[in-house]
Structure formats: C-alpha cells, structure tokens
C-alpha cells in the first residue's frame, strides 16, 4: 500500500475556454444550483469531478454561465419564470452546440431531459447514477484502493424525480453494488418510495401544518431499516407489501443512507440529525461513495 498518495490539482475545464479553442467536450457537466452553492452538496460536485478527472472523461462545465433550470419555479406554478430560465439556458447550451449533458441533480435532469425539448433544447441527458453505472460496467471505475464499505449497511433512498418521474431505479443500486456493502431496501422503495419532502418547491418554504415533517417520517424509516427495527417497519403506512426480511442484530455503526439528489441529501441529513443519530449513520451521495471507495479524495 502506498503510504502517500500523489495528488494533483484539478483545474475544472470551462466551456467558454474550450469553445475559444474550438473544442467541444464529450459531455457537459451540469452542476446545478445546489451543486454550486449548497455547502454540503458542493462536496458531491467535487467528488463527481474527481471521478471524471480520474477516469479521464472529456468534460466541461458552464461555470458562471449556468443559471437555475427553472425547476423550482415550474413546480411552484410560476410557468413564466420557468420558461424565462429555460430559454436562457437553452440559448447558452445551443450556442455551444452541446449534445450530451450529465448532472447529479434529478430535478435538473428531469427538467432538461423532459421539458426543454419542447422549448427547443434537445440533448442527450443523463443522470450521474446512470453515468457512474456505465463507468463501472466499462471497468473504468472499480471502487478499489480506497475506503472499504464491505459489510457496512447501506440503504438507498429513491429520489422521486429519478424514480417515479423517470423510471430510474436500477442504476443507483447497480452503483452501490460495487461497494460490496450490505444493501438493505426500505419497505417503501422504488415505485413505492416515499418522498423526502423537498420536491415541488417545498425546499424553499415551511411545510403546511400537520403531524410531522415528511423528512422525519422518511428518516425514521431509513434508520429502522438500518437498525432492523421491526416495530417501526411494521407500522409504516402506504404500502401493503409483506413485511421485509430484517437483518439480524442491530445496526453496526458506520451505516449509510445513500442518496442521489441534493434535496434528498439535505432532508435526510436533517432527519438523521433530528433523530440524533449523526454519530452512527451518515448520508452520502453515490458519487461521494464511489470517489472514496476508489480512493480519489485528496
């Protein structure tokens, strides 16, 4: 084992620079507002860039030319603002002749993939979970040489805008599989997955009065799944499926709630914090898990 891993500084390629040199990248990495501004999710953006750099993908980012896709405005009913944002972004993307876009945000993914074409923006859009799955399948990422997740418990929280909205259920799971961890499914998973509570612009407002916050409900389920807490799981509402097979023994610590969306990240992390479980359960994005398993953090 190498004691001291060599490291190099990354200078993230900017689209404008590439264009000035007359180059086009194979894929444009759409960072998204959360990926650019949210302190927690910036770490995911950096992890994903490390993977791109390590594998040697020919990519670029828009940098300061990127603006909000308009998703929060659209879900909140402000169609006018959405279309203003969309037109602006489409003009930028088309101006650079972008063909393929990858993003770590399911909301950006859904908006650019499904709602931009009618406004004149047609690209091949791919979510980072699918992108990572492809890198793994091609053998370009092996999840070796870094942190070991062997035997640790991981449960994946489906993002609504990845899952039900776009039928991507298997890619994130395929990515997690290379970690050789103990993957556990929550009772409400895949098509039955419970929202983290942030979608539809809820991220930017106080929840309506109710008994509980959605992220607490979901965090309780995730924790109960990792802990093998049958009582909590049996009383979950919203599914009539048979009781899941519970892993023997209690949580071993170092367990992970895996997410693939910046808003799910915030909501799940808040939920875990609310339950005072930060010391033994962490919330990570797929890209972070892969980057640390591959030993790319420096």
């Amino acid at each position: 084992m190498a004691e001291q891993t060599a490291k190099r500084q990354v200078s993230v390629p900017m689209m404008a620079d590439l264009a000035a040199r007359g180059e086009t990248p194979e894929v444009l990495f759409w960072v998204g507002c959360a990926g650019a501004f949210d302190d927690r999710y910036k770490r995911v953006t950096r992890a994903f860039v490390r993977i791109l750099e390590h594998v040697g993908v020919n990519y670029a980012v828009l940098g300061m030319e990127e603006t909000c896709t308009g998703d929060p405005a659209k879900r909140a009913g402000n169609e006018f603002l959405f279309q203003m944002q969309a037109m602006q972004n489409i003009t930028t993307l088309n101006g650079y002749g972008i063909k393929k876009v990858v993003t770590a945000c399911p909301h950006c993914f859904n908006t650019i993939k499904n709602e931009y074409p009618a406004l004149g923006g047609e690209y091949e859009v791919i979510h980072h979970s699918t992108f990572l799955q492809q890198l793994i399948n091609e053998g370009r990422v092996k999840a070796e040489g870094g942190e070991s997740f062997k035997g640790r418990r991981i449960t994946f929280h489906d993002s609504c805008y990845l899952g039900r909205a776009n039928n991507i259920y298997e890619a994130p799971r395929a990515v997690l599989e290379v970690l050789d961890a103990d993957l556990l499914e929550m009772k409400r998973c895949k098509t039955n997955g419970l929202c983290c509570g942030a979608g539809g612009a809820q991220m930017w407002k106080e929840p309506e009065p109710g008994k509980k916050d959605v992220n607490i409900e979901r965090a309780e389920e995730a924790l109960a799944t990792l802990d093998g807490d049958a009582d909590v799981l049996l009383n979950l509402q919203g599914v009539e499926s048979t009781a899941p097979v519970l892993p023997a023994g209690s949580n071993r610590g170092g367990s992970v709630i895996a997410v693939a969306c910046p808003f799910c990240m915030t909501m799940m992390a808040d939920g875990v914090k609310n339950k005072e479980r930060e010391q033994d359960v962490q919330v990570f994005d797929l890209a972070e898990l892969i980057a640390s398993a591959e030993g790319l953090n420096a």
């Binding site: 190099r8 279309q83 009539e240």
Partner: protein, 533 residues
C-alpha cells in the same frame, strides 16, 4: 384439455370424436369435414329457428312450436317498455356526463393507438396496478370477472324478456351447462368477496377508507354498491333455484347446471304456483335491478366499471416527471427575447370570440378534459391518498379529495346525474364558511380545494403511480397552483422570495452569481497512476 374437448364435442357434435382423433388419414379427414359441415348446418338451423321465432312473435306471424319453451305474454311487452326506459334513461345521463367532460380545455390525445390499447389491456382489463396490493386485488378480480361472465347471462335474460322464450341460450347444449354452472360459482364467490369488501370497509377500519372526503354520500354510496351487488346475486339464485325446483316437481329436466341452487331448493315452498311466481320475482328482480344499477352508476364511484377503460386509454404517455409547458407563455417569452418573433394566431373558431383564457385553473372548465374524465373514473379507493407524503404526515392535502371535488364542482356548475350530493366540508377541511357561500369565489379553487392543500404537494408522483385507473391528481394540483401564482400572485411569501432569487441571482437561494464557480477552488484529486509507478 384434449380429453375435455373431445368430450364436449362428442356429446354436442355427433362427429366430434372423429374430428379430434382421426384427422391423419385423408379419407377420415374428408368424412370429418363433411360431418363438420353437417353439424354446422344443424347448429345454424337451430339459431335460425330462434331468430325466426322472434320475428314471428313480433310481427304476428303464426308460431310453430320449437324445443325452446315459449310463453309470450303481456310480461314481455312490459319488459320491452322497462328495458327501453332503463337504457334510455342511462343514455340521457351519459350524454350529460359527456357534456360535463367536454367543458374541459382541449388536449390532443390522438395517436399512439397501439401503445394506448396495450396500456388499456394491461391496466384496465388486466388490473395490473391493482396487484400492488394483493388482498383487495384478488377480491376485486372475483367481482370483476363475475360481472363480465354473469353478464353473458344478462344477454339471455334480455332475449327471454323480449321474446318470451325461456333460457334461450340452452341451444348451446353442454356449453350452456358450463355457462350456468360457472355463473353460479362466480355468483357465490362474488357474494363472499363483497362481504369481505364490506368488512374491510366498515369493520376493519382501513385508513384509506376514511378521511373528510369519504363521509356522507361517498360513504353511503360505497355501501349501497355492495348491497346492490348482493341483491343482484340473490335474485339470480332465487330465479335459478325456483326454476330448478319447479322442473323437479314437474318431473322435467332443466337445461343448465346449478351447483349452488341445487342446495337452495330445500328452502323454497313445494307449491308450483308459488315457485313459478318466485322464479318470476327472481327474474324480474335481477333484470330490473341491473337496469336500476345502470342508472345509479353516473351518480356513484361505481361508474368506474365503465369509465376506467376510456380513462386508461387516454392516460398520459409522457414520463411522469414531465409537466406540460403552457404554450401561450412560450409565445410571450419568445416575443420578449426576440422582438421579431411572431406569435402564431390560433385558428379562429367559428363565430366564437376567442375569450382570453386565464393561466392555470380556477374552476373545472380551466382543466383539460382528461382531468375531468379522471373525476368520473375515480373509484374513491384512496390508494393515492394513502401513499401521499403530505397526507401521511397529517397535512390537509388528499389527492383523492381533489379528484372528488372536481366531480362535485362539475355537477354543481353544469349537469348533474340523478343523484347529486356534493361533499360539503366543514371546519376539518379548513374552509372559510364565508368563502363557501360567496358566489364569486365559489369555484373549484377555494370553493372546494383550499390553497393550503395545494401548497402541501411535493409533486412526488406517488399518487399518480398508485392509481389503479391511471388518474393524475398532480396535473390538477399544478394547474391550480399556476392560477394562484400567475393570476393572483398568491404564492406563500417564502416562494415569492425564491422566485425573486431566481430572477435576480439565477439561483433559488440568495447567493451571488459570481460565487457560482467557487466550488472548484482548491480541488485536488488523488493521482493513482502516479502511485502505481
């Protein structure tokens, strides 16, 4: 299977066994073919006899006796009147409902015929989405299959009723036994399944069968359906067992098989006049019951037994995450960004002055016609509400209520079917009583659905995914949000802050756009190729 087939053919077609067993030699084959033709002709003759008979009865020609018992009487004339009235009333109601649905905004749902048909086969005919929850799926499958198969016998009832024949389908021979036998068994299963439905609904207290929208009329309606279902089955058994006993007492054979009724005959009187009367009571109760039920459907969630099919056919084919773009806004935005852009004028419709349409939906006529079709297909099963994260955590929002409110409002504003009992919500739905009375504000939005409900939605699509008949409550929610934001600027304050952040900073948070690329500062990656060496 082959054995059964040859059994049926041999008893029904004299040459049937030959047809199954000896088709190899060509001589046998031609014999077989000849015989098949003969049989076909014989069968054809029987059918012709039935039709000729019907013709003669109605056009006063002399009747010749056939094997099928006939007693044409005043009853049949009466039946004709009842049937015409029953179907006529239903058509009248159906037209009203059609008109209601068509007040919705236009939406092009043409094309993709094969994809749509396939979806209808899977989701509606095949009950695909029901099977996410096994127990109710099996119970429902029994009722559903029972309904379809037993209705073949309704064809017989109609023919008998119109022409005075008795059990006209008996010319089917062994198939008739199979049909009546299956019907009796299914009928019994339906009664059991309905009892289970009743128990689940009224005793077991399943959460999705509760809620502010499921009181009063919708609650009663759910039980009425179950009672009618049992009553119809009871009529069927009364008719069969009385008929069976009558034949037994007269020493005659009743065509058909009666695996359940044969055990019920003991409960009936020994008197042939009484039995005859009971058989008639059963027969009339069954068919009049069906006609009444048919006319009850438009007022009930049970309308889904018809509407589920078109509703699934016309359901969305786009990814669930894709929301519609508002075209009029697209033109406006394009014109803003490019002054030379020419807004295409919509083809002027006949005479009607193009009324300026509002953005989003305030009332039912602002929704697309498919959203209104949804309202008539809803089974009020509550699967949507039971998986809604907002509802699960005690918020006011219930996607089922949005759909049920749409139907109530349509019938209040436009045409209503025979029974119209709109849900009136009180305090628990946080309706301002003043607002409900205020005519101006008495629209779908506010009169029925409160902004508090709409703002609780996370647009998670769980309700859409859960709905067994492919209803999409989310579309209606978003349309009403659009109205609140674009026409009334009535978004919650924090959302207005988010909007202005996007406008000013290009991000929903108050960060400076110049900090957008800061994440890339001091970024290092482990250089693994360097260590390997």
């Amino acid at each position: 299977m082959l054995y059964q087939l040859s059994y049926i053919t041999s008893s029904w077609f004299p040459g049937g066994v030959v047809a199954v067993g000896e088709h190899k030699s060509s001589k046998a084959f031609s014999t077989c073919k000849r015989q098949a033709k003969k049989i076909f002709r014989a069968q054809h003759r029987k059918l012709k006899a039935v039709i000729c008979y019907a013709y003669r009865v109605y056009f006063g020609l002399n009747s010749k006796p056939t094997q099928i018992p006939v007693h044409f009487s005043i009853q049949n004339i009466l039946f004709l009147l009842v049937a015409v009235a029953g179907f006529g009333l239903f058509i009248w109601q159906a037209r009203k409902i059609r008109a209601n649905i068509l007040v919705g905004r236009d939406r092009d749902m043409s094309g993709h015929v094969n994809e749509r048909l396939w979806k209808t086969v899977l989701v509606a005919f095949g009950q695909q989405k029901m099977f996410k929850r096994l127990t109710p799926a099996i119970l429902h499958l029994i009722v559903y299959v029972g309904f379809i198969v037993i209705n073949i016998e309704v064809i017989e009832i109609l023919i008998d009723g119109l022409f005075g024949t008795h059990r006209v389908l008996q010319f089917l021979g062994p198939l008739y036994s199979a049909l009546t036998g299956t019907n009796e068994i299914l009928g019994a299963l339906v009664v059991l399944a309905v009892a289970a439905f009743w128990w689940r609904r009224n005793v077991k207290g399943i959460r999705r069968f509760t809620g502010p929208e499921l009181r009063a009329w919708p609650k009663l309606d759910a039980n009425i359906i179950l009672y009618i279902e049992v009553a119809l089955m009871a009529a069927l058994f009364l008719m069969n067992s009385a008929d069976l006993k009558l034949h037994q007492l007269e020493g005659k054979d009743l065509p058909g098989a009666f695996p359940i009724s044969q055990f019920l005959t003991g409960l009936l009187p020994e008197n042939t006049t009484a039995l005859h009367a009971l058989e008639r009571v059963g027969w009339w109760a069954h068919i009049v019951g069906i006609l009444c039920f048919l006319n009850y459907l438009p007022s009930s969630k049970h309308f889904h037994i018809i509407m589920a099919f078109p509703n699934v056919y016309f359901s969305r084919l786009m990814p669930q995450g894709q929301f519609s773009n508002v075209d009029s806004i697209t033109h406006e935005v394009k014109a803003m960004m490019d002054p030379t852009y020419e807004v295409p004028t919509p083809p002027a419709s006949e005479g009607a002055e193009a009324a300026p349409t509002a953005f989003g939906a305030k009332d039912v006529n602002d929704l697309a016609w498919t959203n209104l079709l949804h309202a008539y297909s809803c089974t009020e099963c509550g699967r949507c509400t039971s998986v809604c994260p907002a509802n699960l955590t005690g918020k006011l929002l219930s996607p089922r209520k949005i759909i049920m409110d749409t139907r109530d409002r349509m019938e209040e504003k436009y045409n209503s079917p025979l029974i119209f009992n709109p849900n009136l919500y009180g305090k628990e739905a946080k309706h301002d009583p003043q607002e409900q009375l205020d005519k101006e504000n008495h629209t779908l939005l506010r009169g029925y659905v409160t902004p508090e409900e709409l703002w609780a939605c996370t647009t998670c699509n769980a309700c859409v995914e859960a709905c067994p008949v492919n209803i999409n409550p989310l579309e209606s929610i978003i349309e009403m949000r659009r109205f609140l934001v674009l026409e009334e600027s009535a978004a919650p304050n924090s959302l207005n802050v988010m909007f202005s952040n996007i406008e000013n900073n290009g991000a929903p948070w108050a960060f400076s756009p110049s900090d957008r690329f800061n994440w890339a500062d001091d970024l290092y990656v482990a250089d693994k190729s360097a260590t390997v060496a």
